[in-house]
């Protein structure tokens, strides 16, 4: 199976075969900070960390609760761990 995707965050349900699309919105500070994702990490609190080419987005309970834009030299984030 292949999907031809055009950007954003896709939530695909295998059983129902339905998907929900989330995209970066430059006019919405609560949207995904950037669509080019380097790494994903889920911490012990159930928050999904998206490290992107333009900083970090934190997704919790299907809402982006925080995001941090970064200097250009620090954009290539790969993975974080929490203790």
């Amino acid at each position: 199976m292949a999907w031809f995707l055009r950007g954003g965050l896709y939530q695909f349900n295998i059983k129902s075969k339905k998907s929900i699309v989330h995209k970066h919105n430059p006019n919405d500070d609560k949207s995904l900070v950037n669509n080019a994702i380097n790494q994903l990490y889920k911490d012990n609190h159930g928050t999904l960390w998206n490290t992107t080419d333009n900083g970090i987005s934190l997704l919790k309970s299907m809402e982006y609760i925080k995001r941090s834009k970064m200097a250009k030299k620090e954009r290539q984030l790969f993975k974080g761990l929490d203790y």
Binding site: A2, L9, Y10, Q11, F12, Q39, L40, K79
Partner: protein, 197 residues
């Protein structure tokens, strides 16, 4: 947090970074100290994937490194960089980008690396495996999910075998993240992120 310019400690309250020392990395082959993956195991060892495999011993706060030794065929494969880490019981699974093998397994007890179908490591079925690995994650059932630029691979722990799960011929998958609800989150550098439920 691992970045393409070293290892950083991130404070989620202040949202600021502090750069940590990475003198265990060979600066000749990796001058910018690029970190490809991090993993903390049950023994509180922080594993660092870079141009080689390293871990921080929590007792001594010193790093131990596994790098290629041309004279030792059981060392990490030649030219292996961008090492991706996943710990599974007494094994450390390493995904690589350009080692010609894709996957290697470090046997903790023997401190040796095993790779490829010819190794028959604990009778694992190597017939299908990714050549380039961008991430490895374990789900709640103990199964392993491998992301390559081509698509998503699955290692069935019970059947001890690999399978090619989903083909993504256009976008470049960079990451995956299972959660406790049976989801697999997939990140793409092509501008997409997909959640499989």
């Amino acid at each position: 947090m691992g970045t393409d310019k070293g290892l950083h400690l991130f404070d989620p309250v202040t949202m600021k970074f502090t750069m940590l020392f990475t003198d265990f990395i060979d600066v000749e082959s990796n001058p910018e100290n690029k970190i490809s993956d991090l993993y903390d195991d049950e023994l509180n060892r922080l594993w660092v994937g870079s141009n080689g495999l390293h871990y921080l011993d929590p007792g001594s706060w010193k790093f131990k490194s596994f790098v290629n030794d041309p004279k030792d065929t059981t060392s990490l494969a030649l030219k292996a960089n961008g090492v991706i880490v996943q710990i599974d019981s007494a094994e450390c699974w390493c995904g690589t980008w350009n080692s010609n093998f894709g996957l290697e397994i470090l046997d903790f007890e023997a401190s040796k690396f095993y790779r490829g179908r010819n190794w028959d490591w604990k009778n694992k079925d190597w017939r299908i495996q990714p050549k380039f690995v961008n991430s490895i994650n374990k789900d709640k059932y103990g199964n392993l999910w491998f992301v390559s630029f081509r698509g998503l691979y699955f290692y069935n722990h019970e059947q001890n075998s690999f399978s090619f799960y989903i083909d993504f011929p256009i976008i470049s998958l960079t990451s995956s993240c299972p959660d406790n609800k049976g989801n697999i989150w997939l990140g793409s550098y092509g501008g997409d992120c997909i959640n499989l439920i």
